[in-house]
């Protein structure tokens, strides 16, 4: 029982970070209809920039602000330079462009910082806090807390703040939003920069939990795709739930099935879940069903 609970808890904490990254995907998809395969690299860049600033002995708060500013600018620049010329192109071109972007960003990171694991200055001590019978790392708790706060803020933003409502309107129908006076161009830029910042937060949290920054952080971009699809590509609540579900699924399957198959189940389980959900409910648990008209 304790084993199960420990795995569940770990899964929820890791899943909360997946939710954050999934949110980044969904924000971009909701407003501009593009699935951004470079989201993992936003995470990576956010973590590395934070590392670079923090290693220069800047106070943590300033480092965070600088990283967010950088990510916001990165999102805007990429949207303008790369995605704007591709409006109206077939979806395969858009998918490929984001894949190409992810290669470029990863190459830049590798070129500047190399592939070593760079240790992050320790923020949390490694000794675990006891939650009943279960030990849980301090870093995990803080991370889960941060994510929860951020998710609440974002949900409220989309529900009540004017830019948030504008984004939802643009997601529904770009033409109607334009006719209502919403600047769709600015909405695109805004959504990309929010997504980049959210991913950067995820990257920083993940790096602090692991104690180091290296290239493998970008793998999260792929891992989170099942979470996004399971939740529904255009649902914020779905992204949150999807992330948590996938995190739990990963850990439970790793814990119970790894000994049976000799390892590797943890990585493949989310994709099996992906296939299943695509067969049963392709638009995800909360996604909107797309009706195609000829």
């Amino acid at each position: 029982m304790e084993f199960f609970l420990q795995l569940l808890l770990n899964g929820l904490v890791v899943g909360s970070i997946y939710s954050l990254v999934a949110l980044g995907f969904v924000i971009i998809f909701k407003s501009s209809g593009i699935l951004n395969f470079a989201q993992g690299e936003f995470l990576l860049l956010g973590a590395y920039v934070f590392l670079a600033v923090a290693s220069a002995h800047a106070p943590i708060g300033a480092a965070l602000l600088l990283t967010f500013a950088f990510s916001a600018v990165l999102g805007i620049v990429l949207e303008r330079l790369v995605l704007r010329p591709l409006i109206g192109e077939p979806i395969i071109s858009v998918i490929m462009v984001t894949l190409g972007l992810s290669s470029v960003l990863r190459a830049i990171v590798q070129g500047i910082w190399g592939t070593d694991t760079r240790p992050l200055p320790s923020v949390f001590s490694l000794d675990p806090i006891q939650l009943g019978p279960l030990p849980i790392a301090r870093g995990y708790l803080y991370s889960a807390g941060c994510v929860a706060v951020l998710l609440v803020v974002l949900t409220l933003f989309f529900k009540y703040a004017r830019p948030g409502i504008a984004m939802r309107a643009t997601a529904d129908s770009q033409q109607v939003a334009l006719s209502m006076g919403i600047s769709v161009r600015r909405i695109f830029a805004l959504s990309w920069s929010i997504a980049a910042v959210v991913s950067a937060v995820g990257g920083i949290l993940l790096a602090t939990m692991r104690g180091g920054v290296d290239g493998s952080l970008a793998v999260l971009g792929l891992k989170v795709l099942p979470a996004v699809i399971v939740g529904g590509l255009d649902s914020i609540g779905g992204a949150i739930l999807g992330g948590l579900l996938i995190g739990v699924l990963e850990n439970l399957s790793g814990g119970y099935l790894d000994p049976v198959f000799g390892g590797g189940v943890k990585e493949v389980a989310p994709f099996v879940a992906l296939v299943l959900i695509l067969m049963v409910r392709p638009y995800g648990l909360f996604g909107k069903v797309r009706i195609e008209r000829v």
Partner: protein
């Protein structure tokens, strides 16, 4: 526009000419390194050690006057790239031997190097490369991974004080040829010396989280665990273990354990033991002076570790073989192999154990020191000499 085009053309032409520049009397040696792949954390210092060793040799008389040209390549731990690089080096560059790196590609290429008669000194210490009847052209400079694991298990036996039961040990290894190399030997040796192997956990090539594997191990109640990945992976496992409050004592192979480990894993590395066949940087042995002088002269600002020392020892071994082959007027693949097999207790100034190869046994040495992290520093705690058992050859 016109000037850019001209400039580009000139650049390409210069590159083409340069690429075909004759070498003239140089001895070409291939170098296949991992500078950007999943083992680059240990691959980079090793490659630097090899390059520095070659530079130093060239500055100090070369091979009986001839200079060594290192044709080096980064293959990012991708076996297909290693195979392509090998084909290039042997077919086009016509190298006389190769200083390789990883277990996966070395074991993959062993049939090919045998056919092409190219001596292959790999940084992989896989026991599968020690039997000349199967792999006559493979060599390495350290006790094999299997002997290292046996030495560590021996330490476990000595460290375990409870007489009421056997020590319980778990193996953590990566899902690749390198990770699995010593495991079978380890399983058999546990049975031989009376240690209970209670758990084997597999981790993927690059992983961020080992919690579920550690929880599995906790359930089986392992007292000790041997980790067979590289420093980054070891650090992740140690940190996750600390977060779970585990009391298991961890040990690691020489690619997971070096001065870099306490830096990356910080307090989680305290008390961890490891196999250290090549001395840490700065250890007081006679051979260290040469390395320190070169370091002072060329890059005094760099930091180095045992992996860098390892690269140097490789160069020291094969340049000696090249010198002997050259004296015997046999600077071919077979000649270099024969020269390597004449090395008997070849002294490396304490940087590692003296090296002996014979035509029937390619195990260079069998003495394995065990170090422990105490106060963030590497301290020697034991040394074991594994007997050269014939049934262990090739395992």
């Amino acid at each position: 526009m016109h000037s850019i085009r001209t400039a580009l053309f000139v650049l390409c032409a210069a590159a083409a000419v340069r690429a075909q520049a004759p070498a003239g009397g140089d001895i070409k040696v291939g170098g296949i390194f991992d500078l950007t792949g999943i083992t680059s954390d240990v691959g980079k210092p090793f490659a630097q050690g090899v390059r520095d060793g070659v530079s130093w040799t060239n500055e100090n008389g070369g091979i009986n006057g001839k200079k060594i040209r290192l044709v080096d390549v980064d293959y990012g731990y991708k076996i297909p790239e290693a195979v392509a690089a090998y084909k290039r080096m042997v077919g086009d560059d016509k190298v006389v031997m190769i200083n390789g790196w990883g277990t996966g590609d070395t074991e993959g290429l062993k049939a090919q190097v045998n056919q092409d008669k190219i001596p292959y000194l790999s940084a992989s210490f896989s026991g599968h490369l020690t039997d000349p009847s199967k792999t006559p052209y493979n060599f390495f400079v350290a006790p094999s991974y299997s002997d290292q694991l046996r030495a560590w298990l021996h330490w476990v036996k000595d460290d375990w004080k409870d007489k009421s039961r056997n020590a319980k040990v778990a193996f953590f290894y990566g899902d690749n040829a390198y990770g699995k190399a010593p495991i079978e030997a380890g399983r058999r040796y546990c049975k031989e010396i009376g240690i209970d192997l209670v758990d084997e956990e597999i981790v993927p090539g690059a992983f961020q989280d080992a919690t579920s594997q550690l929880l599995n191990m906790k359930q089986k109640g392992a007292d000790y665990a041997y980790i067979n990945v590289t420093t980054t992976g070891v650090s992740t496992i140690l940190r996750d273990a600390k977060k779970l409050g585990l009391a298991t004592k961890f040990g690691s192979n020489p690619y997971g354990f070096s001065e870099a480990l306490p830096q990356v894993a910080k307090e989680a590395a305290e008390g961890v033991t490891g196999v250290v066949p090549h001395v840490p940087w700065g250890e007081k042995v006679p051979g260290m002076k040469r390395l320190m002088d070169f370091h002072q002269k060329n890059h005094p600002a760099d930091t180095h570790d045992a992996l860098y020392v390892r690269g140097w020892t490789y160069v020291l071994v094969w340049t000696e073989a090249l010198k002997r082959a050259d004296k015997a007027k046999a600077l071919t693949g077979e000649g270099v192999k024969a020269a390597l097999e004449t090395l008997k207790n070849f002294d490396l100034g304490g940087l590692t154990e003296p090296v002996t190869y014979t035509a029937t046994d390619h195990r260079p040495s069998t003495k394995t020191p065990i170090y422990q992290v105490k106060g963030g520093k590497l301290v020697k705690v034991a040394e074991y000499d594994m007997p050269r058992k014939p049934e262990w050859l090739g395992l």
